[in-house]
Amino acid sequence: MSSVEVGTELPPLTVTLRREDLVRYAGASGDFNPIHWNDRMATSLGLPGVIAHGMLTMASAARVVTDWLDDPADLLEYGVRFTKPVIVPDDDKGATITFSAKVDKVADGTAEIDITALAGEEKVLGRARAVVRVS
């Protein structure tokens, strides 16, 4: 991490989520809600189709910050709102989410970072924010 000031942009990150990734996350996290792997269940609940686990999107968004930090242990706070579901089609392309992040505040050895998560034109996370140690 080089010098940190308000307006510093972190290297962006693009993540592709396919059905296989949702199955793998379901297994690793223990979240087997069928809306994350079963179209029939997802559509019966009014969703357009299978959607990614919000916590998987949140985990992916964290990487834009932890990849930038020398040590991910310097992440002190991290929060998001789940504003729009990420629809993951049953094909080889999957869903692509682009994460970008910018330093919004620097004070007392910490920096506050705003994260933006876009799937196509849609913001899938709201008020995504991390506080990191920068001393």
Partner: protein, 140 residues
Amino acid sequence: MTIDATMVGRSYAAAESYQVGREKIREFADAIGDANPAYRGDDAIAPPTFAFMVANPALLRLLADDELGLRLDRIVHGAQKFSYTRPIKAGDDIAATATITTVRKAGDVEVIMYETALTTVDGDPIATSTSTISHNRADS
């Protein structure tokens, strides 16, 4: 019964502590596509959102309180926040306790915030997970 604001403050401890293994951390890091070397090996720390999985057994106890009348399949996760005293690491033995912090009702929908304290089994703080969930009582 159904959940209401008088139930703010109720606490639910996970039935068992969560023992963090380095291979579980690796499996989780692989599943989120994160190759960070900090999440591998004997001195592995866990990725930030690993805390949600460790907090989950306390949520299951909260959902098991019949007086709240909540059903997992009627819940949508609205917001999530973590504060870390230190990262979770391989070898940790973690106690999770969830406490209801706010309840707001709008028709059939209840918006519930609960905070899960993650500590060592000796009570030293590790992290706090704050979750906002919407529970919809309407039959679709």
